[in-house]
């Protein structure tokens, strides 16, 4: 009797210890998020002022802002999205609609998932070999192409997943009234899956607006205002990289402020994206 009781006690104790460790693990995860956001707010907020949004990046040791970097980031992100989204949506459409059971879809899905997690610096090297080397100089358009290659797999994945969730009865109803396949896709399937597809695009924006590695040797950097797509262009992440590793205090402060701007943008986008589809997951 007593051995049974002590066995019971030891099992309960072990359970309590392991469950406590799990709670601690969750605590660790949340603590890192708090620590990083806290440091960003603490170091970044003190540098937020009007000059950040109205002045160019300064030469070493001078005060200035991040206007050209913010502008460059927005331009390249927008072009990346405009180029990448249609390709991603169309590819996802093929996989979920026309070729749902074809072998091509299985292969594309596998390759797309690999592209989704492939190191972004490799994409940078690819675009360098593809565009920068033949053109002979760095350019904003090369940076935008590198970003669009990162957009495609994210959009393909969410588009396919969301179209697969659309009930077949809806498609059949469309076909039954005589609508051809592409009208059914456009007016029934897309409409039903719209919020999911938009979520995918938002997540893609969130992903590329913080990307640094693929821009390092495609768009490079530019200390001055430039709206020429055929010339190097500044971007927020690359500017942060350069400024943070510099020995100048003004630059480091600007790097922290830029980091805060990027993080708030990205986190805001991902929370908003999740809130679009969130309800459904709860069931």
């Amino acid at each position: 009797m007593s051995t049974a009781q002590s066995l019971h006690q030891s099992r309960k104790r072990k359970n309590a210890v392991m469950m406590a460790l799990c709670v601690i693990a969750a605590g660790i995860g949340l603590a890192w998020l708090a620590l990083i956001l806290g440091a960003l707010l603490y170091k970044g907020l003190s540098g937020v002022n009007l000059a950040v949004f109205t002045e160019m990046t300064p030469p070493p040791g001078d005060a200035g802002g991040l206007l050209n970097a913010i502008y460059g980031s927005i331009v390249m992100t927008v072009i990346g999205i405009i180029v990448g989204t249609p390709i991603g949506v169309l590819a996802g459409t093929y996989m979920a609609e026309y070729g749902r059971f074809s072998r091509l879809t299985t292969v594309v899905r596998f390759i797309n998932d690999i592209l989704l997690s492939a190191p972004s610096i490799i994409i940078g090297l690819f675009v360098y070999e593809l565009m920068v080397r033949p053109m002979g100089h760095f350019s904003a358009i090369a940076g935008a192409v590198a970003l669009s290659i990162l957009v495609i797999p994210v959009v393909v994945r969410t588009t396919e997943d969301m179209l697969n969730l659309v009930p077949n009865a809806l498609r059949e109803a469309g076909t039954a009234i005589g609508a051809p396949r592409w009208v059914v896709i456009r007016s029934v399937a897309y409409r039903a899956a719209l919020s999911g597809i938009v979520t995918g695009i938002l997540l893609a924006i969130a992903r590329i607006s913080g990307e640094t590695a693929p821009l390092l040797f495609t768009a490079l950097n530019n200390q001055f205002w430039s709206s020429n797509l055929n010339a190097p262009m500044a971007s927020l992440p690359v500017t942060i990289f350069q400024f943070a590793l510099s020995p100048y205090e003004e630059w480091q402060q600007l790097a922290w402020t830029g980091a805060l701007i990027i993080t708030l943008t990205v986190l805001g986008l991902s929370i908003f994206a999740r809130s679009l589809t969130g309800r459904r997951e709860d069931r």
């Binding site: 998020l33 390709i87 879809t105 990289f241």
Partner: protein
């Protein structure tokens, strides 16, 4: 009268035929466009592989196999070897995975078994937000906040703790720089944690309730159910998640570039600065003068591409197996 109505019908027939034909054409065009886009995804990956091979041809044909086994990296004498970056990449990723896996599984258990229902979603999202933070933010935070903290408190303590212990004392040998292999590993661990957590949580949710309930029914504790039922049932899926995290860690660039120290050598101590494949490329590519230098850096990229491709393919294969089981 009849002639008129016949003419009307036949013209209606004709417009109808034209409409149907037009529909068929647009449908074909749309189908072709979607198919071409799907194929473009394949072309992209193929293009990446081809361009990397082409770009690294010069270096690989000059150094041959010894590129993989040479430690020296000397731009002046143009003698390049990839051993130090490969070593750094593998060591930092391995340590990161060792740290992140138990914590990730712990969080998944917490979220699926312990957490009160209303808190589940907020905490799950908070952990996933860690994945959303751009890697350059981890870098700047690691360099200015985390590394000084390690340098002044944790590292001296560990050096003091293991002083005179054979093996460990050389693994944790000073001086404490703050930046180095161990710091990079810790940052990587934080970065891959959300990937491992969310996949582990997802595969935990695929365990049929009846399996867990029957274990609880014979008196198992929560830990025993997790250890004996949930984890064995989802082993393949967890491995897939771990591999996915490993793939991320291997290719992670900016965060590591900030805190690794960029030294092309292999040291026994984890506190010593080192380098990884991606950090080397990020640091040196724009400054590389000479075709051989550039080509050597692209060769590093090719090696990284091959390693991550294999790891990610394995990860997907394992996750597919879990998916097909839940589908059946």
């Amino acid at each position: 009268m009849t002639a008129v109505s016949e003419a009307a019908t036949s013209s209606a027939m004709r417009t109808r035929e034209a409409t149907v034909r037009r529909f068929a054409v647009t449908d074909m065009v749309f189908r072709a466009a979607t198919r071409a886009s799907a194929i473009l995804v394949l072309v992209l990956l193929g293009g990446v592989a081809i361009s990397l091979v082409a770009g690294s041809w010069q270096a690989l044909s000059k150094f041959g196999f010894s590129f993989l086994t040479t430690e020296s990296w000397n731009p002046v004498t143009e003698n390049f070897g990839a051993l130090a970056p490969i070593y750094g990449t593998i060591v930092t990723s391995a340590i990161a995975i060792l740290i992140a896996v138990p914590i990730g599984i712990g969080i998944a258990v917490f979220l699926t078994e312990l957490c009160p229902r209303p808190l589940r979603r907020p905490i799950g999202i908070a952990v996933e937000l860690l994945a959303g933070i751009p890697s350059i933010i981890y870098g700047i935070w690691g360099l200015f906040v985390f590394a000084p903290f390690l340098q002044t408190t944790v590292q001296p303590f560990i050096i003091w703790l293991f002083k005179g212990v054979p093996g460990l004392s050389s693994l944790f040998a000073g001086p404490p720089y703050g930046i180095g292999l161990l710091t990079s590993s810790l940052i990587l661990a934080i970065m891959v944690l959300p990937f491992i957590t969310s996949i582990t949580k997802d595969v935990f949710d695929t365990v049929p309730a009846v399996l867990k309930e029957s274990a609880y029914g014979i008196g198992c504790t929560t830990w025993e159910v997790t250890r004996r039922v949930v984890i064995p049932y989802t082993r393949v899926g967890i491995m897939g998640g771990v591999m996915l995290g490993l793939g991320r860690a291997l290719g992670e660039t900016m965060a590591v570039t900030f805190v690794i120290g960029n030294a092309h050598r292999i040291s026994a101590s984890l506190f010593a600065p080192g380098t990884t494949i991606s950090a080397t490329i990020a640091n040196e590519f724009t400054e590389a003068d000479g075709d051989l230098y550039t080509s050597s850096l692209v060769s590093l990229g090719l090696i990284l591409f091959i390693i991550t491709f294999v790891i990610l393919a394995l990860a997907r294969y394992m996750l597919l197996r879990i998916d097909s089981r839940t589908g059946a």
